[in-house]
């Protein structure tokens, strides 16, 4: 009943992602981080290999990759650079609501172009004054005939300035709470839409983040996903799925941290022997391995449930929360194993810690994850 053997295709998918990560991402990750460079060429190379927008269904020119397959890709790319993987992951976050709720006309219009080049999507839910209490969003959507008019601003939007289009969540009726929320696809270049890049991030510095300002943005009603009022449930269903790649990326960071710590502990001498002879270090390495393995199990199970047609909000939240906490702890210990060298950028461990902090925050903080999990327990 339980089978952890990957299929031949899954092994190839993982090998491809691993090879790409090793050859094209890892050698540049430190420089991208230092200079906060958006690696457009590498995103394009990823698109050429089919690693971008993997969730686009086959009938619209995509691969319709299974969630477990996506988790394999996520782990390998995040092993090389979590920030780079966030660029790809955030695009799939934009794609997902269109896949879940878009009509076939909307899917053809918005998804196919993403398969024809290095083109990104984005997802805009958070606002400057509104994060975890997502239903309290203040961006307004007014219906005027065949158009929707949007006013407000959206915060922390990954790929916000680069995306071809962004799914914007707004309220058509603030008094209706979450039942007033509408999801609208807004294309880049629509008058009134402005992206203000956000600088000074602690980590994931190659992944571009923006504030979106919407000032009388008019889009056709044909861009509404589902009906007015469906938006909030759609956002939650989307995140139930996309938290799994966040979890898988966290596994990749944790595995990298373990590898870096194990390598350093074999090289670094103290008291006349490599420090990996010291039980204090061995226990740290063992704890890191426990983190990597258990985080992967939680992630794969959540992914497997999606692929069985039984997406499970609690399982996704457990995976995201556990894997990102485990990855943060692992990166922290890996840094500690490096001592003073871990605290400077000569070694990659400091970046791992800075990068993976975000995994505990985005796509729902780990406190929100615990609320989601508790909701399945408390009736």
């Amino acid at each position: 009943m339980i089978d952890f053997e990957l299929s031949p295709e899954q092994r190839q998918i993982r090998d491809l992602a691993q090879r790409f990560a090793r050859d094209e991402v890892m050698p540049h990750a430190a420089a991208w981080d230092r200079d906060a460079t958006y690696p457009a060429d590498t995103v394009a190379a990823a698109a050429d290999l089919g690693l971008l927008n993997v969730g686009v269904p086959t009938e619209h020119g995509g691969l319709g990759l299974a969630m477990l397959d996506e988790a394999l890709v996520a782990e390998e790319l995040a092993y090389a650079c979590m920030g780079f993987y966030t660029i790809l992951m955030a695009s799939d976050l934009g794609v997902t609501p269109v896949v879940i709720k878009g009509t076939s006309e909307q899917q053809a219009r918005f998804l196919r172009p993403l398969t024809e080049g290095p083109r990104l999507a984005a997802f805009a839910l958070s606002e400057p004054d509104n994060g975890s209490d997502a239903a309290a969003l203040r961006t307004r959507a007014r219906i005027e005939g065949d158009e929707i008019v949007l006013d407000g601003s959206k915060m922390w939007i990954s790929n916000g300035a680069e995306a071809e289009w962004v799914v914007v969540f707004a309220t058509a009726d603030p008094s209706a709470g979450h039942r007033g929320v509408v999801a609208v696809v807004v294309e880049r270049g629509t008058p009134g839409l402005r992206a203000q890049p956000i600088h000074g991030k602690l980590g994931q510095r190659c992944a571009p983040t923006a504030e979106l300002v919407l000032d009388g943005v008019r889009v056709p009603r044909a861009n509404v996903l589902g009906e007015v009022g469906d938006g909030f449930a759609l956002a939650m269903r989307t995140l139930d799925r996309t938290r799994i790649p966040v979890a898988a990326g966290s596994v990749g960071v944790a595995r990298r941290a373990l590898d870096e710590a194990a390598r350093y502990a074999a090289e670094r001498q103290a008291f006349g022997a490599p420090i990996n002879r010291l039980q204090a270090i061995q226990f740290k390495l063992a704890d890191m391995a426990i983190n990597v393995e258990t985080a992967r199990l939680a992630t794969w199970r959540a992914a497997w449930l999606v692929d069985q047609g039984r997406p499970d909000a609690a399982a996704s939240a457990i995976a995201k929360c556990y894997a990102s906490d485990a990855a943060f702890a692992t990166a922290n210990e890996a840094l500690h194993v490096h001592g003073g060298y871990g605290y400077v950028d000569e070694y990659p461990v400091a970046k791992l810690l800075r990068d993976v902090k975000l995994n505990q925050i985005y796509e729902g903080t780990n406190e929100v994850m615990r609320l989601v999990i508790a909701r399945s327990l408390v009736r």
Binding site: P8, E9, R11, Q12, L16, G50, L65
Partner: protein, 253 residues
């Protein structure tokens, strides 16, 4: 026309192997398509992309796990695959005779073989296959172009390279520098699922040669440390690379 590309799966050069009781313990090693064979797959794809109407058949030989290597070739772009499956080790001549049957059955015109098999370090398979077929053979090939049934190839020789011209059929063995093999892209990995993989038991008959024993050689690294300031240490390093290791040559020598 039809192009065959011969494949073997070998331990990943980066995987960890242990020496136990004088022999290699490969449990836990990961296996990959032999890099030299990968050049062959890439060469076949480039012949087709140059405008030649060709079917490319990947032919693997070895244990069942070789299907991984074969699927890699399918994902790179080969049209279909044949796997001669067998667990036993056979010498290159025996394997070549079995492969020659497949080449004849497929009525192939052009066969690419890895210049060397990375595991046994044997360079005999390609020449033996050409011999078994009575075909021409180009070894250590670094460039290959086809025009109709005429080919032009460049291959390494001891003191440089030679350019050869000939007509199909031919067996071409590969060499580093022939090309830069492509990644199998994700869409092609998915497409490869639907391609045919014909697995048959390898029927090799009697081994032409039998390995009766082997002994390992262990060699310690020399761990030479060069003392002194940077200038004199660098000078000494150059001297040793030139006079002892003979990897450097002075101009005009």
């Amino acid at each position: 026309m039809k192009i065959l590309t011969i494949l073997k799966q070998v331990p990943d050069a980066e995987s960890r192997v242990r020496v136990q009781h004088g022999s290699l313990d490969l449990t836990g090693a990961t296996y990959v398509l032999d890099g030299m064979d990968e050049y062959g797959v890439e060469a076949a794809l480039r012949v087709r992309e140059s405008g030649v109407d060709a079917e490319i058949v990947a032919v693997g030989y070895g244990p069942a796990a070789t299907d991984q290597a074969v699927r890699t070739a399918l994902a790179m772009g080969a049209d279909r695959a044949v796997l001669l499956e067998g667990d036993a080790f056979h010498d290159p001549l025996t394997v070549a005779l079995a492969l020659a049957d497949v080449v004849r059955e497929e009525a192939a015109d052009l066969v690419f073989v890895g210049g060397k098999q990375a595991d046994w370090d044997s360079a005999a398979l390609g020449p033996a296959l050409a011999e078994a077929l009575g075909w021409a053979h180009v070894d250590w090939t670094t460039a290959f172009d086809l025009d109709g049934d005429a080919f032009e190839a460049v291959h390494d020789v001891d003191d440089g390279s030679e350019t050869l011209r000939g007509r199909l059929p031919v067996v071409v063995t590969t060499q580093q520098g022939l090309n830069e093999p492509r990644y199998p892209t994700l869409p092609n990995i998915m497409k490869a699922r639907r391609k045919t993989l014909d697995t048959r038991a390898a029927d090799v008959g009697q081994d032409r040669m039998v390995v009766t024993g082997h002994a390992g050689t262990e060699r310690e690294r020399r761990r030479v440390m060069l003392d002194g300031d940077a200038r004199s240490a660098a000078g000494e390093l150059v001297r040793r690379l030139r006079d002892e290791a003979k990897v450097l040559r002075e101009e005009g020598r």
